[in-house]
């Protein structure tokens, strides 16, 4: 693995991190507590200063964006746990949604069927990437970088860069609310998937094995973990999540754009890393990712609501992100001291 974060504990620790690993838990709780405080401060500050931060329209938008950025983050998070990364998330997403879009419009299939087919396609692409990662020594960075080029180039060649407008019933999903009209219905599948992932990574052998591989691959392999199988399954899961994320993002916009996914790489890393998932592998926090997505989206919406000129928005977002990463590093250092 190319990315060597300092993982001093990982070298000496047992293959399967025990749930009583107090260092990890303490630093994880600190990060989540810090995120809750950050979200509370953000909401309070922008609620007072911002224009219409708590308006129905604004909350609806925020819940929609949280749904798609959360899924993009999950697609990266499941790969990060194993100590790998997936730079091709956007490429897989755009291929899947283009497939789903043409199935819906050209073949007239119902959206549920099209979505299912695109999820299978995402898993298939993930399987190919996973097989390459498991059976060669190229490394996930290079494999997924090359895959990203091939997938995005391929999509433009096949679709000739034509956007696809979605059928009316699918676009209606983008405007629909859940329980309250200010909560987007798209948030429901995102949170359901969060629950499933939480269960998968804290309760099942697959989750424990994924963490073990990320923590110490050689030790987990000698203690009987089928590393190759877990890696292929991990990339398949990531591919499937990319397909769902692309669907949700397209439903939100109402149209399938061939440029979808171009800005996913950065977002996909920020959400899990803010939530305390380690780039070096072995550590995952689904709840942290949810909090990370809520914080990021709230902060972005808040900065717009205070009338920040759009040309300075990128700077503010970057500065907030850098500050949060540095504060977290500080907290983690203190927790492990």
């Amino acid at each position: 693995m190319a990315i060597d974060e300092q993982s001093t504990a990982a070298e000496t620790a047992a293959a399967v991190p025990s749930p009583t690993d107090r260092f990890a838990w303490r630093s994880m709780l600190r990060i989540e507590a810090a995120l809750v405080i950050a979200i509370a401060v953000t909401w309070a500050a922008f609620g007072i200063v911002g224009q219409g931060f708590f308006s129905q329209y604004s909350i609806f938008q925020v819940t929609q964006v949280i749904a798609s950025s959360l899924l993009i983050g999950f697609a990266q998070m499941v790969v990060l746990v194993t100590g790998r990364l997936n730079l091709a998330v956007g490429g897989i997403g755009v291929v899947c949604i283009m497939l789903a879009g043409s199935l819906m419009t050209a073949m007239g299939l119902p959206w549920a069927v099209a979505l299912l087919v695109s999820i299978l396609a995402g898993a298939l692409i993930g399987a190919i990437i996973g097989l390459l990662e498991a059976n060669t020594r190229i490394g996930s960075f290079v494999i997924t970088l090359a895959s990203l080029s091939i997938l995005t180039g391929g999509v433009y060649i096949v679709t000739r860069a034509q956007p696809i407008s979605l059928p009316a019933d699918v676009r209606a999903l983008g405007a629909a609310g859940f329980v309250s009209p200010s909560v987007s219905v798209l948030l429901v599948p995102a949170l359901l998937i969060a629950v499933v992932l939480w269960y998968l990574y804290s309760m099942t052998p697959f989750g424990r094995q994924s963490k073990a591989i990320g923590f110490n691959e050689r030790a987990s392999s000698t203690s009987g973990v089928r590393v190759k199988g877990v890696l292929v399954a991990t990339f398949m899961l990531s591919g499937a999540l990319c397909a769902i994320a692309a669907f949700i993002q397209s439903v939100r916009v109402g149209v399938v754009l061939p440029s979808l996914g171009e800005d996913w790489v950065i977002a996909s890393f920020i959400v899990p890393v803010l939530g305390g998932t380690a780039l070096s592998g072995g550590r995952i926090s689904v709840g942290g990712a949810v909090l990370g997505a809520i914080f990021l989206t709230s902060a972005n919406t808040g900065l717009i609501s205070v009338g920040l000129p759009s040309t300075w928005l990128i700077f503010a977002q970057g500065a907030v992100l850098l500050a949060v990463i540095l504060i977290q590093a500080f907290l983690r250092k203190r927790a492990t001291r």
């Binding site: 060597d4 974060e5 290079v142 995005t152 060649i157 890393f269 890393v273 928005l313 850098l322």
Partner: protein, 338 residues
């Protein structure tokens, strides 16, 4: 390791393969298109190549110490904003160049200190600082291009010496200085040692922090040089400069056989790799193939390049040459391979 200069470069199989691919592709393009072989196209091709060379080297220096720099494009954009501000104030060429380089160096210092002091991975930190640089760029320029910048800079960009564009000479000069640095300067040796095995290097007295900061500073300066080259080429300071360099910056060194774990610095092979990538782009445009094929082919090219590199590494391992090295640390024994 005893070979010197050109012989050493040519003894690197990777360089030979890429050179052969370049020659073959050029040959095919001369046959297929009426325009590829014209002096004007050669001029355009070399100018475009020179920018890819410097962008690739900006990533290579950071890879050589075992880190990543995802802010190469962002910093180039910010350097372009510096150029725009200086140009609007009516500054002479020397000041414009100094401002751009200062922006690049300062950004590099920030990146390097953050990575060295926090111990966080350069990947996530430069992801964040890249956003800050891009944001500053758009905030300062308000997203608007600035032109004209400097007639002296434009003339330098248009000019050529001995039928070779000035920009390409500049790229070659940068590559030569870097190659000499890795080969002869103690600091260059220290960088490779840090990338090859940071702990072993520290035990033998090499400061990891100094290597990391140094590599990010040089990377930042090279990002600024690439930005100046773009400005001199398109005669305008565009805020979008560097937007699309993330993949390019990695493609060039990876095709050249750089190890992402650090420890090697194939500088001249990177020049050949940049030429190959640019020639594919240029050639496909000339034969009227969809520009999107370029993106796809770059991915295919990366796969081919790593398969070639890895099969060589495996053969060497079977021969026992690198048997003493840990599998993921081959770079430590191969050192700077051209």
């Amino acid at each position: 390791m005893k070979d010197h200069g050109l012989r050493r470069i040519l003894s690197s199989r990777q360089a030979l393969y890429i050179l052969a691919a370049n020659v073959l592709l050029a040959f095919v393009l001369v046959l297929v298109t009426p325009t590829f072989g014209t002096p004007y196209n050669a001029y355009v091709l070399l100018k475009a190549t020179s920018i890819s060379v410097v962008v690739g080297l900006a990533q290579l220096v950071v890879l050589s110490v075992g880190q990543f720099n995802l802010s190469v494009g962002g910093l180039a954009g910010l350097a372009t904003a510096g150029v725009a501000v200086a140009a609007k104030a009516g500054a002479p060429l020397a000041v414009i160049v100094l401002v751009a380089l200062a922006v690049g160096v300062l950004g590099g210092v920030l990146n390097g200190l953050l990575v060295a002091k926090t111990g966080l991975s350069g990947f996530i930190l430069t992801l964040a600082t890249g956003g800050v640089f891009t944001g500053l760029n758009y905030g300062i320029t308000q997203g608007a291009p600035t032109s004209p910048v400097s007639t002296a800079l434009e003339q330098f960009g248009v000019g050529q010496v001995l039928f070779v564009p000035n920009l390409f000479w500049l790229a070659l000069l940068v590559a030569a200085v870097l190659a000499a640095f890795y080969r002869w300067a103690p600091a260059g040796r220290a960088w490779l040692a840090t990338g090859g095995n940071a702990e072993a290097a520290e035990l033998s007295g090499v400061s990891r922090g100094a290597s990391v900061v140094g590599a990010y500073v040089v990377s930042g300066a090279l990002s600024a040089v690439a930005a100046l080259m773009v400005v001199s080429n398109i005669k305008s300071a565009q805020p979008e400069t560097g937007n699309t360099w993330l993949i390019l910056s990695f493609t060039v060194p990876i095709i050249a056989g750089a190890l992402l774990s650090g420890g090697n610095a194939p500088v001249f092979t990177s020049v050949l790799a940049a030429l190959l990538v640019t020639m594919i782009d240029n050639g496909l445009t000339l034969v009227n193939v969809d520009a999107y094929w370029v993106t796809l082919l770059q991915g295919v090219l990366i796969f081919i390049a790593v398969v070639v590199t890895r099969s060589r590494a495996r053969r060497r391992a079977r021969w026992g040459v690198s048997a003493l090295a840990a599998p993921s640390r081959q770079g430590a024994t191969t050192g700077s391979s051209a």
